[in-house]
Amino acid sequence: MHDQSLGELRAGLDRKDYSSVELTRHFLGRIHHGQRLNAFISVTEDLALEQARQADARIAGNDSEFLTGIPIAHKDLFCTLGVRTTCGSRILDNFISPYDATVVRKLKSGGMVMLGKTNMDEFAMGSSNENSYYGHVKNPWDEKRVPGGSSGGSAAAVSARLAPVATATDTGGSIRQPAALCGLTGIKPSYGRVSRYGMVAFASSLDQGGVLARSAADAALVLQAMSGFDRRDSTSLDRAVPDYPGCIEASIRGKVIGLPKEFFGQGADPAVMEAVEQAVRIFESMGAKTTGVELPNSEAGIPCYYVLAPAEASSNLARFDGVRYGHRTEQYEDLMDMYERTRAEGFGEEVKRRIMIGTYVLSSGYYDAYYVKAQKLRRMIADDFQRAFEKCDFIAGPTTPGTAFVIGEKSDDPVSMYLNDIFTNSANLAGLPAISVPAGLDHGGLPIGLHLIGRYLDEATILNAAHQFQQRTDWHRKTPEGFE
């Protein structure tokens, strides 16, 4: 059951090959079996079985939707009613959310069964899942290596077949980078496509919910169910959501792929570049055309991102002050002491680093030099994409400079860690949809990700291209050894 696509699971449930309860028990068993990966912060076994029973009742009553009865794991950044929601942080270790995030509510009302909450870099800050209060997550492909981050738990869980699919979030690459490192298909939709209500904010203008799945077809199904306008999120878009699963079957003949010289010139691993070039040839063989495009300001992406994201984070994380919920230090002298000790104990190193950077760049006297300048660069980066899309339908390149690295290898070097986002964060800065698709294995047998960036609001084209690519390749079917 655990190797089946969502479409196969739907068919299996409808044919009564297995019930949702049986399916859920099966995945709960897999989670138990894969415990050493540390992919989950909370496994909600009783709740999952209860939801599975309800799903079975709906199926029996012919009241099911496409995803009814299919299990899913939620990144622990999404608030879940009555269930602990930690964001990978000690400061929310005891926080039981009194409400469901819109994404969670939508998937729940569609009948999906929540298996649990997945591990992540604290408040989604990180590219390796080493910044979690609940310990690092292991990459199922090589347990000495990181799964990527910040959605490392979701990626490891889906990759090891502990869950058929998982929600994730992406502020600078947090869906796509772990997708690449774990051999998954991960999509970050356009900014505003998926409600951020109940998705604990890291950097509000960049954060976007999305999906980690084993194929573009699976990703399309779940993205469809979680997208759409939400009046509780003023940045969500009041636009109709296209029929993603219906869009993916079309031929990509005649589509024009933009190949930015900036993505092909920079220092990605030769194995990664080789896989990407091979993928482009496969697209060409299906009738797509290629053209060179320019993204002249892409070099500014990392510095721009590492000003804006911490600036917003420093303000977003101010609410974690020990006053109303979450961790509060035991002993304190006065109010200021309570704040300082609570936050010193509650936040990890990387979160503190970013709060300090963010506080600094917003400070009077530095604001213009950093924040305002970064906003200008952000506009220029978005304009570059707009110009590029005059010549092409989507852009292709590598998702990450390399494959999964060894745990601990980059943890003392934040800048080298930040460079993992070099190809991904410009899509966040420009608000564009982007997807990572498995495109090969390196010499050590580690997955490589192909990165496709679409026009604003055009998730359909990149899902379509990814799906067509997956009709010609079987990289996405590869399973890490020991989790077959």
Binding site: F78, C79, T85, C87, L92, F95, S97, P98, Y99, A101, R196, Y197, G198, M199, V200, A201, A203, S204, S205, R231, R232, D233, S234, T235, A311, E312, S314, S315, L317, A318, R319, F320, D321, V323, R324, Y325, L335, Y339, T359, L362, S363, S364, Y367, Y371
Partner: protein, 476 residues
């Protein structure tokens, strides 16, 4: 040296919205602590603000009321600081692009009319309350008020005395009530004021160093706090010291201001545009619709009261000071045949003193406009005398009976039958021959005695005018 005070006011007006500016909880005053704290008020992880358009409508109404520039595009910003009653660790406010730009408020001072510049008015959310009593060394936090919609109205440093500051504040207070954008209740904190005060030698253009005084929540306290601060600063400079830029707190119990924090300790609020809220964009049709809903404003109404009702400038000013009083007066006029000047005297006299005596607002009056109009009609048609009317007014205030019922039941109807009064007059003169002689010998003061006697015998019901005429006639 002669000194000149320079004062600018920042007024926080709580807008009359049913729910909070960015969340769904109610804003009703006086609920049990934290019963009106929705997920957004508490700043749960993951919640997001959604703009309440009604707050924008009320802000635009204010802007149009002072003839200000309305910014078609305004931006919400985060003002970051830590405080236990500020749940998000930042306040959503407007910084670089406020909804209302430059405007003017005309005030009346002892030296005449002055135009006071209003720099801007911006939307923001209120904080909660920290409760220090009843918690035994701890602090209680009530988030009912957190997220309530405020309009912060910032004046230019155009005011030159505490009296002008009070005049400005009263005019502004009347205006927000006229516009019905706030209940203006100062006890409940719906209308709060901070003052920026500096002094400079008279004739100097450059401004002196200012101190900001916080927490002045009544007209009286504004006057006292500003006066205290002006004196303090002059004193300081004259004794060779310097005024430092700082925030000071007014203590009404001691009637003094004292330092809260210096410029060095001032917060760096790290303002930046709130990424959770798109720019607030107002289209022309929205603004025009609000314009069409504007009521007649105090100045125009005052002028109309003078011309339409023939009232004195002072009566017109007093009646239009607040909208409810002006409305009441106009309702009385529309229902009575009495002269509007008489109606004005009653509203500003008997009614005002009764309200004052019982510490009531005009909305809570026990004599409604219909009752007062009927009473004035009965004076106008000579059913009762003006003096009796004052008694009837008090009876009316304390009972549910109608004017006519009270007059009827208590036999207060005036005697206007000349023959009846003549008979009483004759009887009085007959019984007091000695006084008649005195009068005829030139003691005019005895006349009042006769009037009194006639009124006594008629239990006050004789028409005074007729009594006077008949007495004069008989004593000739």
């Amino acid at each position: 040296m002669e000194w000149e005070a320079v004062v600018g006011l920042e007024v926080h007006v709580q807008l009359r919205t049913k729910s909070k500016i960015f969340g769904g909880a109610s804003t009703a005053y006086g609920a049990e602590p934290n019963t009106q704290a929705c997920d957004v008020s508490v700043a749960l992880p993951g919640v997001l603000p959604v703009m309440n358009r009604e707050a924008a409508r009320l802000a635009v109404k204010f802007g149009l009321g002072i003839g200000a520039l309305i910014n078609r595009r305004s931006i919400f910003a985060r003002k970051n600081y830590f405080y236990p009653d500020l749940p998000k660790g930042y306040q959503i406010s407007q910084y670089e692009a406020p909804i209302v730009g430059r405007g003017t408020l005309q005030i009346e001072t002892q030296t005449g009319t002055r135009n006071i510049g209003i720099t801007r008015a911006h939307l923001e959310e209120d904080a909660g309350k920290s409760l220090h009593e009843d918690f035994h060394g701890m602090t209680g936090i009530d988030l009912n008020r957190a997220g309530t919609a405020l309009l912060e109205i910032v004046s230019e440093p155009d005011l030159r005395s505490s009296a002008e500051a009070v005049a400005y504040l009263k005019t502004l207070h009347a205006l927000v009530r006229y516009l019905d954008i706030s209940d203006g209740n100062m006890q409940e904190g719906s209308f709060r004021c901070d003052a920026n005060v500096s002094v400079r030698p008279k004739g100097q253009d450059a401004l002196g160093t200012r101190a900001e005084i916080k927490n002045i929540n009544s007209f009286r306290f504004v006057e006292k706090a500003v006066d205290f601060e002006i004196e303090r600063q002059i004193d300081r400079i004259e004794n060779g010291g310097k005024v430092v830029q700082e925030t000071r707190l007014y203590d009404p119990d001691r009637d003094e201001t004292r330092s809260m924090r210096s410029k060095e300790e001032a917060h760096d609020y790290r303002y930046f545009p709130d990424p959770d809220l798109p720019a607030l964009v107002l289209d022309e049709s929205f603004i025009e619709k609000v314009r069409s809903e504007l009521p007649e404003l105090p100045r125009a109404r005052k002028a109309r009261f003078e011309s339409e009702y023939g009232l004195s400038r002072s009566d017109a000013a007093q009646l239009t000071r607040d909208r409810q009083t002006a409305d009441y007066f106009e309702r009385v006029c529309s229902k009575t045949s009495a002269n509007p000047k008489v109606a004005a005297n009653w509203v500003l006299g008997e009614l005002a003193s009764a309200l004052n005596h019982h510490n009531l607002e005009i909305a809570d009056t026990r004599v409604d406009s219909t009752g007062l109009a009927k009473l004035l009609d009965r004076v106008a048609d000579h059913t009762i005398s003006g003096k009796t009317a004052k008694d009837v007014f008090l009876l009316l205030w304390n009972s549910d009976q109608s004017v006519d019922r009270i007059i009827e039941d208590r036999g207060l109807k005036q005697i206007t039958d000349n023959a009846e009064i003549e008979a009483v007059v004759a009887g009085v003169l007959c019984d007091h021959q000695a006084q008649v002689r005195q009068y005829r010998e030139g003691n005019q003061r005895v006349f009042g005695f006769f009037v009194g006697q006639v009124m006594k015998r008629t239990r006050g019901k004789a028409n005074p005018k007729q009594v006077n005429e008949l007495l004069h006639e008989k004593l000739k």
